[in-house]
């Protein structure tokens, strides 16, 4: 069933602030197997001109993915979340996230399409500090694959 086009442009309420921590950045860097000292050692980060360690470029997914759940599980939208796969992902960084950033995410439905029974929804997530400094914009295409009977 095609999704309601009137959701395009809808913005969801800001998420509670997520406080970025130095150890969380380290944990994420370990998990992606990246030994870069700029993710762990404040002195190495300072040598590159940063005030503290920085987070890897894909780290903001830790915040944007839970934020997107507001849309994925919105009963009014009716996305079949059991059939959702991640279609694509984009990040536009103003700067890397750093320890102490208290990040608020605001999700907007940017587009809704239906192609061959697949519902395709693009979510734009703006992540800013509580003070309103924009850090990163993430865009994710989520695809709810057509149910079997709709494919035939």
């Amino acid at each position: 069933m095609a999704l309601d086009q009137s959701f395009v442009g809808r913005t969801y309420p800001p998420t509670p602030a997520y406080e970025v921590g130095r150890e969380k950045i380290r944990e994420f860097a370990e998990a992606i197997g990246d030994p870069n000292p700029v993710y762990r050692d404040p002195e190495a980060a300072k040598a590159l001109g940063h005030p503290d360690v920085v987070a890897p470029p894909t780290f903001p997914i830790v915040i944007s993915m839970p934020a997107a759940d507001q849309v994925v599980y919105d009963p009014a939208l009716g996305l079949d979340w059991s059939r959702v796969v991640h279609g694509d992902q984009r990040f536009n960084h103003e700067r890397p996230m750093r320890p102490g950033d208290r990040v608020v995410a605001v999700v907007t439905v940017e587009s809704i399409k239906s192609i061959a029974g697949n519902d395709m929804i693009t979510l734009m997530t703006e992540m800013s500090t509580e003070d309103g400094e924009l850090i990163t914009v993430a865009r994710a295409l989520l695809v709810a694959r057509a149910a079997e009977e709709e494919q035939s």
Partner: protein, 143 residues
Amino acid sequence: MTETESVAERFAVGAVLPAASFPITRKDLVRYAGASGDFNDIHWNGRFAVEVGLPDVIAHGMYTMAVAGRVLTDWAGDPAAVQEYYVRFSRPVAVPDDGVGALVEVTGKVTKALDGGRVQVDLTVLSAGQKVLGKASAVVRVS
């Protein structure tokens, strides 16, 4: 060759980034699930993955994106130089529980000079000889 020239050549259109290969095991996926908070069963539960029609447990697309991004950040020198990063998840990376896992191979090339001392880099990301990320590209500040 002066130092300045070598830096210019390193970031010139057509320049090739150092390639890298990354093995992925089930343990890596478990660790990434914990660090990212994405505990979707298809990334660790083989029984569930097969039930929903996948060949096996598959890597998180975001894990593959992160791993491929290391080619960008290692080349750029400062991860903060990666201002934009885009990938399409075109094919899942199956990670069998066979003691070997999967191998992701990443190559990259500077394809365009942009304003503001930035360049576009296109990545090719393969596993088992097939493209797993499509249209993978980044905008990197190089000066």
